[in-house]
């Protein structure tokens, strides 16, 4: 079929089986030199733990391995290929300078077991990044240990719990708005709290009257995302903080949407007591493909005794080191000191931009989201007209009349050469289309996106079936997600 857009075209790429299927006995991509040390008797060393049957390992040559993974990589879509407007995920460009810095020999080859005295550079990176993030958030202290956002949430709530316990009562509940990220209630439950839902008002913000009614001395904290998942800034944030603090509760901020605030507003200044950041969102470290992520947690002074240990401190002789003597700490939450490689990249990003650059980044991210909002308003239903920050949420209300839902539009967007936006989230918008361009996109790329979305809306009117059957130009047609969830095939077996 004809391609709907100048952005995408057909392109030959190669089919590829599983690497196990390429295997033939005896083939190898390596050859070891003769053994020049005494051979170890593994049976004697390991006893019953010695494994004789190693299962089926693929036996392939080097070029077969290279081609296998290179071919697979050509099937992929990535931020390096085009716009990735997956709302709430902040899929921004990962600058190459970050990678250059992370590959500097002394950094790339450092080992966490190195003595402190020859790790001063690495410790300085941890300390400098900590100071930058504290300044950006307006908080008092930070831990860089958590491995990603949800892990940061858990670490933050463990500190909230430890704080309340130190006052003699851990409390029972966490309040969570109905627009929250799904990880928030999961985190509260993991840390042993009951979750109580908080309704949003017609502006898409926390309903102050409900908060007032539900806030009491059983509530340990409110977990709030600001701007929230509608891309709306919680304008009553000071009032919200006051209501919580008046009853001894804490304000937790999910920093997933920090890309709308950096350099402009500091959560520490609007009453937040504890918050996590996502370096793999806001601070440009790789996102997707396993990252790994990094979810630092910043806190106010009152929570400092509970920070995970060890913490980096300046010793009397002026050198840096790890402090383990932290009797009130919630303990270590991650092996070694966290995902250090991401600290390097985030610091490179922060320092390359500087304060003015970061501010500009935030302004551009908000401008881009509003450009898309303006471009698509009228074509797609906008359920909340409150000003948009870094992302915009439409609904499929207009298209649903033709039987086309958000997921169908997203699938069709693939044919136009874009990664889909986030579908069906936030839950308070039925049939949500959640679009976050980030600051990385040029006006030209966004114009192509807006054209694609308008063209799909027109297709819905004229030929809905094309949209319902999309994608048409991909290697595989639409997957049966229901069958995949109900009857998953979780592993490949040798025939």
């Amino acid at each position: 079929m004809k391609h709907p857009t100048p952005k995408a075209t057909r392109h030959v790429n190669q089919n590829e089986g599983l690497i196990f299927e390429k295997s033939s006995p005896g083939k190898a991509a390596w050859k070891l030199p003769p053994l020049d040390v005494p051979e170890v008797d593994t049976a004697k060393l390991l006893g019953e733990a010695e494994r004789k049957d190693l299962g089926h390992m693929p036996e392939v040559s080097e070029i077969e391995i290279i081609r296998h993974f290179t071919r697979l990589s050509t099937w992929n879509y990535a931020i390096d290929l085009g716009m990735y407007p997956l709302g709430s995920c902040t899929m921004k460009y990962n600058p190459r300078v970050n990678e250059a810095v992370a590959r500097v020999e002394g950094i790339a080859n450092g080992h966490p077991y190195q003595p402190e005295k020859i790790s001063q550079g690495a410790l300085r990176i941890i300390k400098t990044l900590s100071e930058c993030l504290i300044e950006i958030t307006g908080m008092d202290a930070i831990t860089l240990q958590p491995a990603a956002g949800a892990h940061g949430e858990m670490t933050g709530l463990l500190m909230v719990r430890a704080y309340h316990e130190s006052k003699g009562n851990a409390r029972k509940k966490i309040l969570i708005p109905d627009s929250a990220h799904g990880t928030n209630p999961a985190t509260a439950a993991m840390v042993g709290y009951a979750v109580e839902n908080l309704k949003s008002d017609s502006r898409g913000m926390v309903d102050i009257a409900s908060l007032q009614a539900q806030m009491n001395e059983d509530v340990a904290a409110l977990m709030l995302t600001n701007p929230n998942t509608l891309g709306v800034f919680e304008q009553d944030i000071h009032k919200i903080a006051d209501i919580l603090h008046a009853k001894g509760g804490l304000l937790y901020m999910d920093g997933a949407n920090m890309n709308a605030l950096v350099g402009k507003v500091r959560p520490g200044d609007f009453g937040v007591d504890v918050m996590h950041l996502n370096l793999h969102k806001t601070f440009s470290t790789p996102h997707g493909g396993g990252g790994p992520g990094s979810g630092p947690v910043a806190i106010k002074k009152a929570l400092e005794p509970f920070l995970p240990k060890p913490v980096v401190v300046t010793k009397p002789d002026g050198t840096l080191g790890f402090e383990y003597n932290r009797p009130h700490s919630v303990g270590r939450v991650r092996a070694f000191y966290g995902n250090f490689g991401m600290f390097v990249r985030a610091l490179a990003y922060i320092q390359a931009n500087g304060p003015d650059g970061l501010r500009q980044t935030t302004e551009d991210a908000v401008l881009n989201a509003n450009y898309i909002r303006k471009g698509l308003e009228g074509t797609y239903d906008l359920p909340y007209s409150t000003p948009t920050m870094h992302e915009v949420v439409f609904s499929d209300k207009v298209q649903a009349k033709k039987g086309v839902r958000t997921m169908d539009i997203a699938k069709r967007l693939i044919d136009y050469g874009f990664h889909p936006y986030t579908t069906a989230f936030p839950l308070i918008v039925p049939g949500a289309l959640m679009i976050e361009p980030t600051e990385s996109e040029s006006k030209e790329e966004m114009d192509l996106f807006i054209d694609a979305m308008k063209s799909i809306a027109q297709e819905v009117e004229e030929d809905a079936q094309t949209v319902l059957d999309a994608p048409h130009s991909t290697r595989v047609s639409r997957l049966d997600e229901t069958a995949a969830a109900r009857k998953p095939v979780l592993r490949w077996k040798l025939a």
Binding site: G182, A424, L427, E481, T482, A485, R486
Partner: protein, 129 residues
Amino acid sequence: MPYPTDRKYTKEHEWIQVSGNTATIGITDYAQESLGDIVFVETPKVGGELTAGKTFGTVESVKAVSDLFAPASGTVTEVNTDLATSPEKVNKDAHGSWMVKMTLKNPGELDALLSAADYEKFVAEEAGH
């Protein structure tokens, strides 16, 4: 879709049918329609206690995971184990696919729930058509 008049409904889209002191609970057709293809139903254990208005399980669809809210308080006497292997039955016949049976603790709690007609009205407003 007409809602059966032999039972009561919650604003969280559960139905509850009472026979003597025993109540049977499931989710409404509107709920299954909004959720889409259901792939997993998590029910409480027999002997577990349900509290009116509190969650007692989850329904997972390809779109989302949703909590189940207890229409009334009571002690679970039976769960529909059939749904563990055939969750699609809820999509096919939500009003016939019960999830939990329980002994009611306080039958008076049912007075606060919606009739079929009221629920239909509520759903029409929520769906905006």
